[in-house]
Amino acid sequence: MSATLEQTMPEEILDAPAGSTPPKSAAQSTPEQKRKALWMVVAFTLLASVAQVLYKMGANALNKIPAGSMVDVTLGSAHFHISAALVAVATNVPMIVGLTLYGMGAVMMVLALQHGELSVLYPIISLSYVWVAILSVLVFHEQVNAFRIGGIAVIIAGVAVLGKSGSR
């Protein structure tokens, strides 16, 4: 696999504008670091997709609360008369776990960007569409159809091409 990758390398140099130098950070990164960056973005998309599903579950629970309703909360000797929606968000476990996963994903994304090209790593985020499409069928029992299967296959093909160009 690495032999074919190296053969396609001159194309990249030809496409670069005359006199331009590759960005310092990308030039200093080893192929090993670049591959690691690619997989970190893939892991990020998995985390973000699970987070999105948890978020949707949490939002479904929130929809059951009437708009504008208030509740009384007692913390020790202090009493509060606050929005029921606010309490529901603060105690909504799927939503809190979802937000935490988003935060972890953001850290991974920044670490990945240290060693990879933005133009390679950013479109890989489209894999999250694939995971969400699969999770929507598994968790929310949405219908499977030819468009969805075709879309998933074409996105994966695109990401594979990016991965090839980004790991050298």
């Binding site: 396609t8 194309e11 990249e12 140099i13 496409d15 670069a16 331009s20 130098t21 590759p22 960005p23 310092k24 950070s25 990308a26 953001a106 994304m109 920044v110 670490l111 960007l113 240290q114 090209e117 933005l118 133009s119 390679v120 950013y122 479109p123 985020i125 489209s126 569409y129 499409a133 159809n145 030819a146 468009f147 969805r148 075709g150 879309g151 998933i152 296959a153 074409v154 996105i155 994966i156 093909a157 695109g158 990401v159 091409v161 990016l162 090839k164 160009s165």
Partner: protein, 117 residues
Amino acid sequence: MTTPMSSIALVNVASFIGSLGAVGLKAGAKNLKLTIPALATNWKLHAGIAGYLLSSIFFMLGLKHGDLSVLYPMVSVGYVWTMIWAKVLFGEPLTKAKVGALALILVGVGLLGLGIS
């Protein structure tokens, strides 16, 4: 269900701001030091995160109305913007492989969008 122009505009603004957020994250990641003072003063990173938050607000406003199968694929237009910024601002080469891969992804997201309706 018809999709109002305002929703289409909001989603496109969101993906544009999101692509600028990615530029901020990349610029901030270049000289990343994992110490609290360094992270606290990494304003490029902060600008990137702020860009993402702002972009998600526009997304939510845009997705309130309209057909998801129309709006969903439009989100991926942000990848095109990002590839342009990567070339212009960071000097990343725009190869045939990258452009081809991006075209495949846009087609794939479009198909997924059609599968929603």
